[in-house]
Symmetry: C2
Subunit: 348 residues, 2 copies
């Protein structure tokens, strides 16, 4: 089985965006806020949004199941206040549940969290519990910068975040560290802000003892770990200069990278320097890059084509990257089939 | 000849830091501000600060000349106001000139700029002119984020920066895009802020028509270009999705990467994806990483050891990377010897 651990519902029916626009327009005039119930999307519309996109690509590329979450760039935690974020988040997560119910073999849910700048992370706990316990989701996306490019929250290693981590550990779910859109004109969202956040998070983990406090807490750093594998020597050297423990002890039991790197030399580098135990296959389709690479004739984000032909990784390692690591890191997936995971949902 | 295009005076005599501390302590009470003349550093102290460090490493590693600038992390443009920055900058640049005068075969100067948050970049022009016309410097370091991690300045492609670019073009000097220390607790300076800034700058260039307005403007993105070569496919794909011209046309006549990547797989990736014309040899010694890699027995930042054994780059390309590109990008270097460059200084 090939598990794509990083997919967002970027192709949701237009009614979703229209609802969000109405919600944003009503900021400052709560009487005009649309109710969640007012969103009307039929099952057929959901099917149509996926059949020509994610499902088609799964078939064409030979991947089996996508660990699927709401569109990351649309989380926009910086918009409105905590109640804006809660309403929008519930709506988006409910839609992911509907996707998983319609296609229980193809998608497993991961939730957006109702973060809001300056609002304590424990505010996210009820929605995380709802998604895991009621909707059958197996992880969450955690935004280290709800301000959208101004980085005003404490680092991920600060005790500020600990109540949420306690709940993640209790529920046995990992978080993908994933920012949203940037409202800072310096940062292009998918080209700079995403990659910077990945690099930033790794460096926060490297300099802290977070995983002494939470030995079973797990994070996936997406987009191939930002700049980290390319600068693996720099990070090893900085950690060594700071007398930090070796990576194996410091963070490799807790921090994982996905394979959303859109050319073969990048994937080769990733697999050369990062242990196979720490790499999870992913493509982020349909995501940041939609085009076809004229040099290969294939989609940039068809990452299976970069991993597959590498002949210096063992069959066992390949199996970990494509399947085993995702089942282990998303421990609620474990040995279940996707359908069995989705059958744990109690509602929605 | 092997030219290291990226070195900072990180080993300056302690009197420099003491002066800076006194300057910072006097913020708010200008009567206590130390004069530049009060800094007392002897030639012997300068010699001692270099002989056991940069010069020793040049000899041991077989590099010939370092394009040398003040310590980047100490620029700290966010401290104080524009006058604080001007005084500190002049002092640091004057010290670089003294280094170049003492060792005219080993160092060529590049200047710090007296940036300050929110202050228009034209404020840097007098110091840039002084350094180039009077001190014989051949480039400058430009900080895209004088706020130190909050990214409040407009992107580098905004017209805000144009007066400085006009002067750079007139003086025929490139800028290395280089942030300073971070006062944002989210960003470790050398592990996150530096690398993020590199990635951010590239993405700003990719999305703009800056080089249509300034066809001869040149930037070096240090630290191997941040995350960019590792995500080369992502950047190619994003540019393609945005209908931008191919990189060769869009920015490769204007944007260069150095080789400050501290492990062999990273350097191999860089040289695989970025044209040899766009790579300048550098080590940033003595810089972000000081230790010895236990896997190789050599300093992490001894980057010549990574470039040298790569046998699939031609001799001509190797010569460009080690020497030719630096002479071309720093066009005031050109065909001169380092001693001849330093002899262009009129004072200091």
């Amino acid at each position: 089985m090939i598990i794509d651990c990083h997919g967002h519902y970027t192709t949701a029916p237009p009614a979703l965006e229209a609802w969000r626009k109405a919600q944003i327009a009503a900021i400052g005039d709560p009487s005009k806020t649309p109710s969640r119930a007012s969103l009307s999307i039929s099952d057929d519309e959901i099917r149509a949004s996926l059949e020509g996109a994610q499902l088609k690509m799964q078939r064409e590329r030979g991947t089996d199941v996508t660990i699927f979450s709401p569109r990351a760039s649309a989380m926009a935690h910086h918009v409105g206040d905590a109640s804006t974020s809660v309403e929008w988040t519930r709506l988006c997560n409910d839609l992911i549940r509907r996707v998983c119910k319609l296609y229980p073999d193809n998608f497993i849910g991961v939730c957006q969290l109702p973060q809001s700048p300056g609002v304590r992370p424990e505010n996210c706990i009820p929605e995380l519990e709802r998604c895991v316990n009621e909707l059958g989701f197996i992880g969450c996306n955690l935004n280290p910068d709800p301000s959208g490019g101004y980085w005003k929250e404490p680092p991920l290693t600060d005790r500020w975040w600990y109540p949420l981590y306690e709940k993640m550990v209790e529920l046995d779910v990992p978080a993908m560290v994933h920012v949203s859109s940037s409202c800072n004109p310096c940062f292009h969202a998918t080209g700079a802000h995403y990659i910077n956040a990945d690099t930033t998070a790794f460096m926060q983990f490297l300099t802290s003892d977070l995983f002494k406090d939470f030995p079973t807490l797990k994070f996936i750093i997406p987009h191939g770990g930002g700049a980290v594998p390319y600068h693996w020597g720099r990070y090893k050297g900085i950690a060594q200069d700071m007398k930090r423990p070796p990576f194996s002890e410091l963070l490799l039991k807790n921090v994982y990278f996905d394979t959303c790197v859109y050319h073969r030399p990048g994937i080769e580098l990733l697999l050369k320097v990062v242990p196979a135990e720490n790499v999870l296959f992913a493509s982020e389709m349909v995501g940041a890059v939609k085009g076809i690479d004229p040099d290969t004739g294939h989609h940039y984000d068809d990452t299976r084509r970069y991993v597959e032909p590498i002949d210096w990784i063992s069959g066992a390692d390949r199996a970990k990257i494509f399947e085993g690591n995702a089942r282990r890191v998303f421990s609620r997936f474990g040995t279940r089939t996707p359908r069995e995971v989705n059958a744990t949902a109690r509602s929605g």
